[in-house]
């Protein structure tokens, strides 16, 4: 097991890099907010970024074995369907996750 000084250093390095990435762009990007190209980007980024994050969280989905990808596909469809139907984020997230847990434990995927 790693010693405490190493872990403290690892946390400090991670926190510094993460905060730097979140804070420093404001000093360089703030003047660009008035630019038409930047507002075009900012207008369309939230949707695109969320779609990419969905794809990223599903990156290990076995596309060549559709049967093994079934819990992911069905739970994703259920989440989106619930949200389009009821517009209730809590219901969509809990419903989709519960279905995924149920399918992942009951289907013989492994």
């Amino acid at each position: 097991m790693p010693d405490t000084p190493y872990l403290v250093a690892a946390v400090a390095v991670s926190a510094a890099v993460t905060w730097g990435l979140r804070a420093l762009p404001f000093t360089t990007l703030a003047p660009l907010r008035t630019s038409a190209a930047v507002s075009y980007l900012a207008d369309r980024m939230p949707l695109g970024v969320m779609v990419i994050l969905v794809a990223y969280t599903l990156r290990n989905m076995p596309l060549v074995h559709p049967a093994q990808a079934l819990p992911d596909i069905l739970a994703l469809g259920a989440t989106a369907g619930l949200h389009l139907w009821r517009r209730n984020a809590v219901l969509s997230i809990l419903g989709g996750t519960a279905l995924h847990v149920a399918l992942a434990t009951s289907l013989p995927t492994h």
Binding site: S14, T27, S92
Partner: protein, 249 residues
């Protein structure tokens, strides 16, 4: 800070002057807005906390990771690095690559609405995907500083309490919960649908999926960074093309 700090006037402490009832109502409003996200973050926090304990680290490292770093997806990676005692340079580089998507959030996060130096420091520290999704919308343009800060603090609280709860559970039960990680996918799906409702734009999600797939198969090790870079580049290309088409029309 350039124009961001220009909005900050130390001689006018607007936040300190707000009456206590108004301050409390902003906190309540923030927790109401973030409640749905909390229901997704808390179980992921539990999964994270359990993983910390199962990999052999002391339970309280889950609390330290989640409160001090506050970058969910990277923290999962850090467990593996810490257990293997990976070089600090490798940890720094991975943190940079995994979290570099936050660079793009500065484009539309309303930091100019956050008052005070401490407020701005915390606001940039707690600029997570979820905080960005809530505050980058048009409705957030009317939010006072306190509501934005409380919103970020509430997301922080869900994550830290979830991680700590999970770590505590991990010390008493040894069974692994499978499928809990899907809560993260469900959360981003919901946020994507809400973003689409705010701005009904068909080509953008198609472009995003294409960029994600190209990145997944071309740069499997750096999928997220590659997908964001591709997506931003293609949006800029689309913008340039439309501008050109308009001037020629």
């Amino acid at each position: 800070m350039t124009s961001a700090t220009a909005a900050y006037r130390p001689h006018r402490p607007a936040t300190a002057a707000a009456p206590p009832r108004q301050q409390r109502s902003e906190a309540v409003a923030a927790f109401k807005i973030s409640g749905s996200v909390g229901l997704a973050i808390f179980p992921i926090g539990i999964a994270f906390g359990m993983l910390v304990v199962h990999s052999g680290l002391a339970w309280w490292w889950a609390t330290v990771f989640s409160s001090v770093i506050f970058a969910g997806s990277f923290e999962f990676l850090l467990i593996g690095f810490a257990v293997a005692a990976a070089p600090l340079a490798q940890i720094a580089l991975t943190a940079f690559l995994v979290n570099s998507r936050h660079v793009f959030y500065a484009l539309s996060f309303p930091l100019d609405q956050v008052e005070g130096k401490t407020g701005k420091i915390y606001s940039t520290f707690a600029l997570t995907d979820e905080a960005y999704a809530f505050t980058a919308s048009q409705t957030a343009r009317s939010w006072p500083s306190r509501r934005i800060l409380w919103l970020q603090a509430s997301i922080h609280a869900y994550w830290v309490s979830g991680a700590t709860t999970g770590a505590a559970l991990g010390t008493v039960i040894s069974a692994h919960l499978t499928g809990l990680g899907f809560a993260m996918t469900a959360l981003f799906t919901v946020l994507a649908i809400d973003a689409f409702r705010a701005r009904r734009d068909i080509p953008t999600p198609i472009l995003a999926v294409a960029c994600a797939l190209i990145a997944r198969f071309t740069f499997p090790g750096q999928m997220l960074l590659a997908a964001f870079a591709l997506f931003t580049t293609s949006l800029l290309a689309r913008y340039a093309y439309r501008r050109k088409a308009r001037t020629h029309a």
